[in-house]
């Protein structure tokens, strides 16, 4: 987890009504398209100031959730609240505090980037001085300063960066981003992720993605959505501990083959993988393994060269949570 995660936001437990301290609160959120449930009773709370990663495979319901939060779609059942107000009642006062980037942002192709940002700022009724300063800063941030071409001639990456910039024009309290880095090259991705990380503590960022490395880099809390249901919500460390399918140890001894034989029958060893001189042990009880393994190695007459915990990746957690449930 990155530095932003050090100040991990605490997940607020489910409450009966919209909570003032929660930036986003979903209760039993259900969305049906015909008979198909895009969202199936989603409960979710995102604390103010959190950088929240909303993970899920394609078709899990991430975009539907964001569309409901942005007021573009209505729930079939349940409720969704942003900044303490139900989205169905949220008027201009709430919208003025939200920034939104859809997965594929649509722009007026005849405008330039600067014109579009001025237009977006005008919709928020920003005064001229503020608007000028923000447009200049956001064009710089988006790497579009000095670009005079019309948006119609932009690449997808340029449009995505402009999309992020327009979502920030009102200095929002809540930033809703749907797959913000999906169309970006590595440098563009880094810039956007740095920008998101810089907002930690000031702006609540709710972003959906399937790029797990992005989540690990900037998010403090995450939720995993699958088939319209939240299957896990926690800090990234908490998720790894609870859903890591056991924990792993990396072990190096002078004769790895003998150690494989020595540990094979131990009850807390789930899996032994060998890569050269290194053994990776997947264990069901990490504290027991850390205490007992040196003794096992000594009893086998082996010399211990390395013993350390091997962190489970978020990808493995994701596959464990989602992979087995896929048809």
């Amino acid at each position: 987890m990155n530095d932003a995660g050090a100040a991990a936001a605490v997940t607020v437990p489910p409450a009966p009504g919209p909570s003032a301290s929660a930036a986003v609160e979903l209760r039993g959120l259900t969305k049906l398209y015909g008979r198909k449930a895009a969202l199936d009773g989603v409960d979710l709370t995102v604390a103010s100031g959190a950088i929240f990663g909303f993970l899920g495979p394609n078709g899990a319901g991430k975009t539907t959730t964001l569309r409901i939060l942005a007021g573009l779609a209505r729930p079939t059942a349940g409720s969704a609240a942003v900044l303490g107000r139900d989205v169905l009642d949220a008027g201009n006062q709430i919208r003025s505090q939200i920034g939104f980037l859809p997965d594929v942002p649509g722009f007026y192709g005849w405008m330039t980037a600067a014109e579009f940002l001025r237009f977006a700022g005008g919709l928020f009724d920003l005064d001229d001085a503020t608007l000028r300063a923000r447009v200049a800063a956001l064009l710089e941030l988006a790497g579009l300063a000095g670009v005079e071409a019309r948006i119609g001639a932009f690449s997808r990456g340029m449009k995505q960066r402009l999309g992020v910039a327009q979502a920030l024009i009102n200095a929002p309290r809540l930033l809703l981003l749907d797959e913000p880095t999906s169309a970006l090259d590595p440098i563009g991705r880094k810039d956007v992720l740095d920008m998101i990380a810089a907002l930690a503590g000031r702006t609540t960022v709710f972003f959906s993605t399937h790029i797990l490395a992005d989540v690990e880099r900037v998010c403090d809390t995450v939720a995993v959505l699958d088939h319209g249901r939240v299957v896990a919500q926690d800090t990234i460390d908490g998720l790894k501990q609870r859903h890591g399918h056991g924990q792993r140890l990396l072990v190096e001894v002078d004769d790895p083959a003998r150690l494989v034989q020595a540990v094979a029958a131990l009850p807390w060893v789930a899996l032994v993988e060998r890569s050269g001189a290194t053994l990776r042990l997947t264990v069901s009880d990490l504290p027991t393994a850390e205490r007992a393994l040196p003794a096992v190695i000594a009893a086998a007459g082996l010399g211990l060269r390395r013993l350390e915990a091997d962190e489970v990746s978020l990808e493995e957690v994701f596959v464990e949570l989602v992979g087995e449930r896929r048809p």
């Binding site: 569309r67 008027g91 003025s96 939200i98 939104f100 859809p102 942002p105 649509g106 005008g122 919709l123």
Partner: protein, 254 residues
């Protein structure tokens, strides 16, 4: 500047910087220029056709300024109304299809404001196109035929404008209610043809917007017709279409 006026400003700039400028104003001005010229050339064209066919003699009375205005009004009644239907069908559907409605409506502008701004901008284009078209048609007609009676033509054009504005608001409603532009165009043309059919039923014609279509022709020829009900029902229909457009769009998911 409020969100509404910002959006209205965008609409104005969009009109001048995109194809929108060339649809209604372009077609109307083109027809305003061509109608008098075609009227002036029609006898020569017919004579040339007759000369190529031995034994055929065509007598055409000399065209007048009124013929020129009748020709232009006929074009307004058909070609320009179709252009109004096509342009109107794109009013909201195009913003939805392009994804621009999503970025705009997640900012502090209401859906009602969005629809009203789109309608005002389209109506402004229609009014300007009509006024310019009428002016150009009069100027061209005067140049080709000399000064004729302009007042009946202006009255007929004003009646046409009221009818076209109602059709435009109908299309704004269909654009908000339907998923895309094509079915809105189809429905709009169907309803327009329905109104044309109504002109054949005096009772319905005299108490509905269809009366304006008939009154149009009457104004040009100097006949008196009852206009109160057609004008009142046209105004009411326009207001109802705009309110319905807002109602549909508020319920539509983006």
């Amino acid at each position: 500047m409020s969100a509404f006026s910002t959006f209205l400003g965008k609409e104005r700039r969009e009109t001048f910087r995109t194809w929108r400028l060339w649809i209604l104003p372009g077609i109307t001005l083109g027809l305003a220029l061509l109608s008098p010229v075609l009227t002036r050339l029609t006898p020569e064209l017919l004579r040339a056709t007759a000369n190529s066919q031995p034994g055929v003699v065509i007598h055409v009375p000399p065209p007048t300024a009124r013929d020129s205005y009748v020709q232009f009004m006929g074009n307004l009644d058909q070609l320009v109304i179709i252009a109004v239907i096509i342009a109107g069908a794109a009013t909201i559907a195009a913003e939805r299809r392009a994804g621009t409605a999503v970025l705009v409506l997640t900012k502090p502008i209401s859906r009602a404001g969005f629809v009203v701004a789109k309608a005002i901008s389209q109506l402004a284009v229609l009014v300007c196109a009509t006024v310019l078209g009428v002016a150009v048609c009069i100027a061209t007609t005067v140049a080709l035929f000399g000064a004729g009676s302009i007042a009946p033509f202006v009255a007929a054009a004003a009646l046409w404008l009221a009818f076209a504005a109602m059709i435009l608001l109908l299309m704004v409603m269909l654009s908000a209610a339907m998923r895309s532009q094509a079915p809105a165009v189809g429905a709009g043309i169907g309803l327009w043809i329905g109104l044309l059919v109504f002109t054949g039923f005096p009772l319905i014609r005299d108490h509905s917007p269809a009366g304006i279509i008939a009154a149009n022709d009457a104004a040009l020829t100097g006949r008196d017709v009852a206009l109160l009900w057609p004008l009142v029902t046209t105004a009411i229909a326009g207001a109802v279409f705009l309110a319905a457009a807002i109602w549909f769009f508020r319920r539509r998911e983006l």
